[in-house]
Symmetry: C2
Subunit: 307 residues, 2 copies
């Protein structure tokens, strides 16, 4: 089945203790799409500038990603520069040049209209809502947001959350959105805002999924997928977006939409995040095989599996 | 089987967002012993002052804990005051009065000599080594340490690590001890210092056990036990010591000493830590049943268990 992915395509300049890379292909939508492409058909909606060349588009096309929704605008593509020299857990932003992304108005090609799944990347919540409204026939909508939107566009975000089935955010964002420091209580408050399920990403410690009462099945307990402790983190950029891609991609590959599928999806999210950080940029995500992915899924399972 | 536990008995004054308690029974050895007492026979070695009364000792005796190794010294018992008003993850120490603990010289009663297991609580590494030497017949020695000893008594600690089978520390301590920021690499460096297994506690995210090549069985991968997201954390004091108590207690309750036992022990550690924080001080650890403990073990298992 197919997923529409809306978000940013960017050129990143990244410094980590393992090295430095300039103007490499990045952006939340790029990481998401590459990760999801191992599971389902992915259709991108994004905007790029005149500096986005055929070689960049080919990275996506080689993975079978539908790029008809990539709009070419006059000007330069979104650029971001950041470093992880002090901590691999948090980027220090060197610069952000929004460029053509600043006036991004997502346009959905009519060929995308039959898509069953939608992922709303980290953009203005009003744009997220508009896309969701236009793709009214989707079975499940996942979405991301960030501190900036939680603080600056709180009311718009509250409206968007009403039409999101699954929200994927990190611990800090969940606590900020709920105005509550205790994580399970914060989760309950966020679920009351609309989503049927909330995925909270814990970085190197994995992720937890909380379900609204009765959503996707029965049961009271959350579910946690641990992350593999990774010896070689070359570049943490895109780990969260790759997590979302693995999560949504796996869901879109399944007929059923129940808790067991969402739990497995949480593991696949962790798997794709763990691959992403092994090389700079999207390098590792470009050349995986489904066999490698499933082998790591087994390692993740065994990581917490008692006989 | 029986475990000798060496460490501190203290009176704590604690403030958390849920309330405040003054001069309540605490100390690493107290939390450890109460948690371990649900699995095995526990024998304490500690020092207290003249303010330690029968009512305090009875808390331990009621759980069948052998208190013959508690030495009464002239003066006051170790007192600690701390608060968790800003963050439940880290205590802000208000005061530390070592009192009789300052000149603590652990003395092992001869009745303890046949003990099979030993837990060296967070005391000067030279004292840890001395106790280990005296109880030379134990099957397995677990131990704790902290930043203070890692920085101030590094050489003595290195010697102690050679006679510890399992070291239990947190992320920050592991990285500091190894001089390495990457956790799996830090773990390998610590294992090279002596221990056959290293348990790294991640607070609310659970714990990971790393094995030295060939120790306790075969396999290359670490194992991670997630922690339950807890809605009501009343008082985080003693969570790590309770974790160690559940971990060591479960090991001491088993005939075999292999990786599967250590993995289950890691889950039981998390279970006991999760109970400890539900009430102030040791209150919750005083009145559990094995049924409650095993029920939560199942919840923890299901938390990461895929069909």
């Amino acid at each position: 089945m197919s997923i529409v992915a809306v978000g940013s395509v960017a050129f990143d300049t990244i410094a980590t203790p393992s090295g430095r890379a300039e103007n490499i292909l990045g952006g939340s939508c790029t990481y998401f799409s590459l990760a999801a492409s191992y599971f389902a058909e992915v259709r991108i909606v994004a905007v790029v500038g005149e500096d986005f060349r055929a070689e960049h588009e080919n990275v996506l096309k080689k993975r079978g990603i539908d790029t008809r929704g990539i709009e070419r605008a006059k000007g330069k593509t979104f650029r971001w520069g950041g470093q992880y020299l002090d901590s691999l857990n948090e980027a220090k932003t060197d610069f952000t040049e929004l460029n053509v992304f600043e006036s991004f108005q997502p346009r959905i090609p009519k060929e995308y209209q039959d898509s069953e799944f939608l992922f709303l990347g980290n953009i203005h919540p009003s744009l997220q809502s508009a896309v969701r409204l236009e793709l009214n026939g989707v079975r499940l909508t996942g979405g991301d947001t960030m501190n900036f939107w939680i603080q600056r566009t709180h009311n718009e975000l509250i409206e968007t959350l009403k039409v999101m089935n699954v929200l994927l955010i990190n611990d800090t964002e969940a606590k900020m959105l709920a105005g509550e420091r205790n994580l399970p209580r914060a989760a309950q408050k966020v679920l009351a805002m609309g989503p049927q399920a909330l995925v909270i990403k814990h970085g190197e410690y994995g992720a937890t999924i909380f379900f609204r009462e009765g959503a996707f099945g029965i049961g009271h307990h959350p579910f946690r997928a641990p992350a593999l402790p990774i010896e070689e983190v070359k570049d943490p950029t895109g780990a969260g977006d790759s997590f979302a891609g693995g999560f949504m991609g796996y869901i879109a590959s399944q007929e059923q939409l129940n808790r067991e599928v969402l739990k497995r999806a949480l593991f696949y999210g962790g798997v794709m995040g763990s691959f992403a950080v092994e090389r700079f940029g999207t390098e590792r995500l470009q050349s995986l095989t489904r066999e490698e992915i499933d082998a790591r899924f087994q390692v993740f399972r065994e990581l917490t599996h008692l006989e």
